[in-house]
């Protein structure tokens, strides 16, 4: 069973790395959105420090949502997805593998580039560490929840815009606690602990439930 998981993970990673521009677009989008805000609202140090956490998370939400469209689309078009549904292995495990690969390609780069963004917004070093932790816990949740929406909107007219309507409301808890963790760590890093624990709880819940819902959604889409 796990060999199927690894197999899908490796395949998706290899495919993703062969089409590097697609992977990098999400990252570039994230950086551009984050860089636009100071130009729009003014570059005052204090304003940026207040807005930084929220802006980073909203940009991460949008970047992850844009990337989601491609989570199943290519496999859906060439028929691979149907074969995956037909395999004897549990579909939820295969969905989990695809989401894991997707996160490694589009979520992890956001976490790694976060310090750069932190400097743009004059965040303190502790805040930057907390931001990386929060993004590391939160972006997989975005991918997991998003996979349900991506599966539901497969091959649907206006899928992209519809996906945002379905998924963004469900992203709100991650946004609230993710941004909150960075915000409160301005004074003391220990204040962020409850926020990070809640994010970890979201991650565990999403890890157990989202692949099941995603698999059900895929079966509906391919009926």
């Amino acid at each position: 069973m796990w060999s199927a998981f690894w197999c899908i993970l490796q395949r998706d990673l290899r495919l993703g790395l062969r089409r590097r521009t697609e992977v990098l677009t999400a990252l570039a989008f994230f950086m551009i959105v984050v860089s636009l805000f100071p130009l729009g609202i003014g570059t005052e140090r204090q304003t940026l420090q207040i807005l930084g956490p929220g802006v980073v998370w909203v940009a991460a939400l949008l970047a992850s949502m844009l990337a989601l469209e491609r989570l199943f689309a290519a496999d859906y078009e060439d028929g691979t997805l149907e074969q995956l549904v037909l395999t004897p292995q549990p579909l939820s495990l295969l969905v989990l593998a695809k989401v894991a690969a997707h996160w490694l390609l589009t979520g992890l780069p956001l976490v790694l580039i976060a310090p750069l963004v932190g400097m743009q917004y004059h965040l303190t070093p502790t805040q930057i560490v907390i931001m990386m932790l929060a993004l590391g816990l939160g972006t997989p949740v975005l991918g997991l929840i998003g996979s349900i929406g991506a599966a539901l909107t497969l091959g649907v007219r206006g899928g992209g815009i519809l996906l945002s309507l379905l998924i963004l409301p469900l992203y709100i808890p991650v946004l609230v606690y993710g941004a909150g963790a960075i915000e409160v760590s301005r004074i003391a890093s220990t204040d962020a602990q409850p926020y990070l624990l809640l994010l970890a709880a979201f991650l565990l819940t999403a890890l157990t439930l989202a692949p099941l819902a995603g698999a059900a959604a895929l079966k509906i889409a391919l009926e």
């Binding site: 379905l166 469900l170 709100i172 819902a213 059900a216 889409a221």
Partner: protein, 252 residues
Amino acid sequence: MALNPFKFAAPAVFYPLANRLIPWFWTLTGILLALGLYWGFFQTPDQLGGNNAQKEYYRIIFVHVPAAWMSMWLYVIMVFWAAVGLVFNTRLSFMMANAVAPTGAIFTFLALWTGAFWGRPSWGTYWDWDPRLTSELVLFFLYLGYLALHAAIDDQRRADRAAALLAIVGLVIVPVIYWSINCPDPTQCASLHQRSNLTRIEGNILFAMLTMTLAFWMYSFATSLMRLRTLILEREAEASWVQELLNPRGGR
């Protein structure tokens, strides 16, 4: 005679039943609305609370609270029918979920809208990012997402099942709305909605509010059944009983 719970699951059997029930629900809606509004306007105290009392404008409560309750209940009912549809694969349950959704969305909007008008005189603002307001807004988006997803998929069966799954996933928001006023530490999260306790409300106000709630229930039944009737005719248009209903003489 054994009771068959699936007897009314057949659209052809349910359609006449809906026809017979709708006038009753409309009548009850009218009576209860009239009673609730009369009681709310003329039999209740002119102001609410002791010091810093809310004057006449507190009467928004008679629309606001029932609408907010309905928005949550109707979502739960919608999810119930969606889940029944996914489990038993009955066409009528999906139609039921579909018929309830617009009414639920309207009540959610009504709760937000009347809340804004109540908030202006009592809190000094139309909108605040109070946890309850925010979660109610999310509920509104979930209703919209359900309707949009259903409308975007052409294949009826897939649309039903996909939207049903989305509704079930969205159910997480209902307990969040319900408990969103239980703020453990008032300095951490500012909640403008106070904790409510039905037993502490003045008798006349409570009576008017509950009457209005019943009226809204009846209204929801009536509109949902009317929408359901249209959905049945639309989807079963090829069935022979619909053809007979539309052309009683048998000619096409």
